[in-house]
């Protein structure tokens, strides 16, 4: 029997009603790495992350985390096991304060001291959040909302952080800041799965990448090989010659 990876998706199938969004996805993530998921809209990237987080149930296949099945657990147990997500569109609680949003990120934690330490770390990563602590989250700028969304996901002290389109709609300078913080989070030992429309930036951060096409894995390779791959360059890196 092959040794199972840290987080592993085995022939995962997920349907939205009668539409099969994932048609048998297999991928693996090693502890401590950044893995990029690339692909066009509708390829199944967000569906993949939602299924890992337990918001969607697979119709077939399995998800294993640290050798144990994850796909049978309810979403709140998955957070407890150490997988949190900063979802597409940020989904911050607009009518709650920044502080309350961050506290909700630590909802499953019982160690107050640990949560306080995490909060300090998040303020180091995103000093802007400290300044805006008592503001309603809905009044933040887009970049600040993204920082809050990531910070909120980090408050759960995740082993694996799922990031869905963190740079979407951000000015390039803000996007770079977000990518830099993803690098720091990873350096602190958090494994990251990154879904990103900016394929170049994602592959520069990641050690490996998967390219999804209509619910299947079309390509799986190291990030550097994907950056050099002519098909990837034409389809996702925008330098078709």
């Amino acid at each position: 029997m092959p040794e199972s990876a840290y987080l592993e998706l085995r022939d995962l199938r997920v349907s939205h009603g009668s539409v099969e969004a994932l048609r048998g996805i297999s991928l693996s993530v090693n502890q401590g790495e950044i893995v990029a998921l690339l692909g066009a809209n509708g390829a199944g990237k967000t569906t993949t992350l939602s299924t890992i987080s337990g918001l969607l149930r697979p119709s077939a296949g399995a998800i294993l985390f640290e050798g144990r099945p994850l796909h049978t657990l309810p979403s709140h147990e998955i957070v407890r096991r150490g997988i949190t997500q900063a979802p597409e569109g940020r989904r911050i609680f607009a009518l709650l304060s920044v502080r309350e949003n961050l506290e909700l990120g630590a909802f499953t934690r019982r160690d107050r001291a640990g949560a306080a330490a995490t909060l300090d770390w998040i303020f180091e990563l995103f000093p802007r959040l400290r300044e805006r602590l008592n503001q309603l989250a809905g009044t933040l700028s887009g970049g600040e909302q993204q920082m809050l969304s990531i910070g909120r996901a980090l408050m759960g002290a995740p082993k694996v952080l799922l990031l869905d389109e963190p740079s979407l709609g951000l000015a390039p300078i803000l996007a770079r800041a977000i990518f830099q913080s993803v690098r720091e989070v990873n350096a602190a030992g958090v494994t990251v799965i990154l879904v990103e429309q900016n394929a170049r930036a994602a592959l520069q951060l990641a050690s490996r990448g998967y390219v999804l096409e209509v619910g299947r894995i079309a390509l799986a390779d190291s990030a550097s090989a994907l950056l050099r791959n002519p098909d990837v360059q034409i389809a996702y890196l925008g330098n078709g010659e």
Binding site: L55, S75, R91, A94, L95, E103, L104, F107, G138
Partner: protein, 301 residues
Amino acid sequence: MQEFLQQLTNGLAVGGIYALIALGYTMVYGVLKLINFAHGELFALGAYLGFTLLVTLGLSDFMGGVGVVFLLLIFAMGLVAIAGYFLERVAYRPLRQSNRLAAVVSALGASIFFQNAMMLVYGTKALVYPGGILPSVVVSVLGVEIPLIRILIFASSVLLMCLLFWFIHHTRTGAAVRAVSLDQGAARLMGINVNRIISLIFLIGPALGAAAGVMVGLLYGQIRYDMGVGYGLKAFTAAILGGIGNIPGAMAGGILLGVIEALGAAYISIAWKDAIAFFTLILILIFRPTGLLGERVADKV
């Protein structure tokens, strides 16, 4: 002026009752976007359970005063909370994934079920809360005569609302309730067990309704198996008036509606009491369709 203050204080007690019932509607709507049509019946059940403790179990024979009111509230709130919990488990949870209409029909069915159950157990005739539970003291402030019972009712309803407000705004679980009402999916990503929060809402809302039921029994003496319909409709109006889904809105809407009704009954005509209440609703919805404190549309980026 004195007459005005008199009517105002009369309206406050009733308004507190409306507000307590309205909170149940608004909290359930907040998390499930469902009108719990059986909520009025849970309120009536509270009134009946108060009667059971007072008369059938004979509490009024050997006790009087504020202590009885306290025991009545605890008893009715506890049991109706359990009824609310099972209502959600049986009538709403299995339909969570089906379309909205199915849940509405189920709510109407649950309402009829509770009403008929109370009719079977307690009969169709109005029952009477025994008098003399509270000494019939009248407090006189600035020439305004306020019966002790009204003061007690208003104070209890305000106290319950303060407790709820504190819970929602200053506890971790309260923050989770607000998160679930804003975005269930994101709440799940925080590790919040959404089903557990929904169960909690169905414990708290009906308990507050039950407290209102006991208060109506104490204030007016008479209770009937179908009393939930009228009060439910008024409280629902109050919830919309304040902005449905909004907790402070339900509190404000309930008290405002009670006061407007009392003033309307005094200065226009008592026969027009209900018409005035609903006319107020129409007026406010014309000028503020989201209700008085209705959610300012949050910018969804």
